[in-house]
């Protein structure tokens, strides 16, 4: 009997060891972000201090600096504007497209849907050269509106794909009943399909927004004026003066920008996975 207990204890210990390993691996960089952003500079840049906790009392100086002496608030606003505009463009184009591909166009619809999805896989690093010429030709270089124009190239395919799944999961009988009752085909879409797929639409809104927040390559390529940058680009590239990194400010900015995305992902994760694997799990 004792041997069984020992073996069980060993198994439990190694299991919780594994849990601890993954916990630390995933969370430590963020813990590091948090603690760096609240530390005084004299505490940060002293190698004899134990770096894992506060040796001086925590401070808000980095956050104050961020909002008062840098363009952080502007970047935050830029990201918000870009995100909202891209959400609107994406919804207006992806909603009818997804509905059409799921319901109206039959077999060709499926092929087209797969085709649209593949464009999501065309990487920014293949397109940024010609797109930067297009942007320059339109006179949008160095302007955040270039991002409003370009970001839908990946949000539309992604959201069309996600929404197709939602529409396919909805029983068509509801719209058919509406049509029999005298509703036009367009009315059936507008008055029946859209209200019924609100959870799907909400998911798409959240993901479009987070996708625009996460994007980095296009922003880096198109925008060099500080006051036009979205938050990710601003925090990652604009808080460095020459060779000096303002680590406290950088981490504070990264923290503020990360929190909403982290929350959104945790709330909508399951739908995201269902969308990305496109029914590979039956």
């Amino acid at each position: 009997m004792p041997r069984v207990t020992v073996a069980k204890a060993a198994r439990e210990t190694s299991f919780y060891g594994a849990v601890a390993f993954f916990f630390i691996l995933a969370a430590f960089p963020f813990y590091w972000m948090v603690i760096t952003s609240f530390k005084t500079n004299s505490d940060l840049y002293n190698v004899t201090n134990i770096p894992f906790w506060f040796n001086d009392p925590p401070t808000l100086e980095h956050f104050r600096y961020l909002f008062e002496k840098t363009l952080f608030a502007t970047w935050l606003l830029n990201s918000l504007i870009i995100g909202l505009c891209v959400v609107v463009i994406t919804l207006v184009t992806a909603l009818p497209a997804a509905y059409s591909l799921a319901r109206l166009t039959g077999r060709t619809g499926e092929t087209l849907g797969i085709g649209i999805f593949f464009t999501y896989l065309v990487p920014p690093t293949l397109l940024f050269l010609p797109l930067s010429r297009v942007i320059a030709g339109l006179g949008l270089q160095n302007s955040m509106w270039s991002l409003v124009l370009i970001y839908p190239t990946f949000t539309i395919p992604f959201c069309t794909w996600l929404l197709m799944g939602f529409f396919k999961a909805m029983p068509p009988e509801i719209e058919e009943a509406a049509i029999v009752d005298g509703c036009s085909l367009f009315g059936a879409f507008f008055k029946m399909a859209i209200p019924l797929s609100l959870p799907g639409i909400l998911t798409v809104v959240i993901f479009t927004f987070t996708l625009t927040l996460q994007e980095f390559v296009y922003a880096l390529t198109f925008i060099s004026s500080s006051d036009q940058k979205p938050i990710t680009l601003g925090v990652a590239t604009d808080l460095i003066r020459g060779d000096i990194f303002y680590w406290g400010e950088i981490m504070a900015g990264a923290l503020i920008a990360s929190i909403p995305v982290a929350i959104a992902y945790n709330l909508f994760l399951d739908r995201f996975i269902a969308g990305i694997t496109g029914g590979a799990v039956k």
């Binding site: 916990f23 995933a26 960089p29 963020f30 109206l104 690093t125 190239t153 036009s184 990652a236 990360s258």
Partner: protein
């Protein structure tokens, strides 16, 4: 169905009548999305192909056709060949590491334990948070002087301060660092994919195998792994495509350095085409991603077709 829609008597305008035709409305509905994608993905893609066989630079924007001269030039460049092999090392190194972490992470999260929800929520973070911001946090952790990793190693007595590694300043260590960061970013996604697959394996299949005498490893590798292979393949495809074409991690952490040790295709294309303004060579470099992407797409198409049969 179409008959029902058409037979509804309506004293409506001709426009209304057209809108009630299934195929017409269907085309009108997809048109904006298709147009957007064609104009801003399809056309630029063709432009990229044409740039790569032209002599276009931002200072001299001619469309003069030069054939494969750009490709011939970059292939002869030893720096480019190194970039190409770096890209493969970076991609497969980080995918391999990410998949292993993902598989074991999924096994850990499968078993109920107190606080599992919280651990799961935290484990998603590396993948959810904008990659540029997480990368910057890692850059700070790899700092040459204030690296918390080095501090810990010194405090534990493994090394002395004079031996402390300069993570991003040494060629091999820099490559390991960018691989680790990318694997770290990818592993939550792998966990989620594995979990989605494993929970979809019917319990009765596993029970039947257990009754027939299959142990933990046998159940794991002869039943679960083959059954979840399709979904893992999709996850891996995403991972490969996004890593092979990545620019942000390398750009933020090492700028391709030291001395080109971590230069990858995406970064090299950016440096040549955008920073130096040599659009044609930059486009030619970026196009080297295409064969890998094509293989992935063909693989995926075959997979989708097989699933339908």
């Amino acid at each position: 169905m179409a008959a029902v829609a058409d037979s509804v008597p309506k004293a409506a305008s001709r426009f209304r009548f057209i809108l009630d035709r299934r195929d017409v409305l269907g085309s009108i509905f997809v048109a904006p999305a298709i147009l957007y994608v064609l104009l801003l993905v399809g056309v630029p893609f063709l432009m990229a192909v044409y740039y790569s066989v032209s002599a276009y630079t931002i200072y001299d924007p001619t469309w003069q056709f030069v054939g494969l001269a750009n490709f011939a030039q970059i292939v002869q460049d030893s720096e480019f060949r190194r970039t190409l092999s770096n890209t493969f090392i970076f991609t497969f190194g980080s995918q391999f590491l990410g998949l292993i972490l993902g598989k074991f992470g999924a096994l850990v999260l499968l078993r109920p334990f107190p606080g599992r929800k919280l651990v799961r929520a935290l484990i998603i973070l590396p993948w959810a948070v904008p990659v540029a911001l997480a990368t910057v946090a890692w850059q700070w952790m790899f700092d040459s002087l204030y690296s918390v990793i080095n501090w810990t190693l010194i405090a534990l007595g493994f090394i002395t301060r004079s031996q402390a590694p300069n993570w991003l300043g040494t060629p091999e260590l820099a490559m390991i660092s960018v691989i680790v960061v990318n694997a770290w970013r990818f592993f939550p996604f792998a966990i989620v994919i594995f979990l989605a697959g494993i929970t979809a394996v019917p319990q009765d299949v596993l029970d039947a195998a257990t009754v027939d005498g299959a142990g933990f490893w046998r159940r794991n590798y002869q039943i679960i792994v083959p059954m979840i292979l399709p979904i893992v393949a999709i996850g891996l495809i995403f991972g490969i495509v996004f890593t092979f074409t990545d620019l942000s991690i390398v750009f933020l952490m090492t700028m391709g350095g030291p001395i080109g040790a971590t230069s990858v295709l995406g970064y090299k294309g950016f440096q040549t085409g955008i920073i130096s303004g040599d659009v044609s060579h930059g486009a030619a470099i970026s196009l080297f991603m295409l064969p890998v992407l094509l293989v992935v797409v063909i693989f995926m198409l075959r997979f989708i077709r097989r699933r339908e049969i």
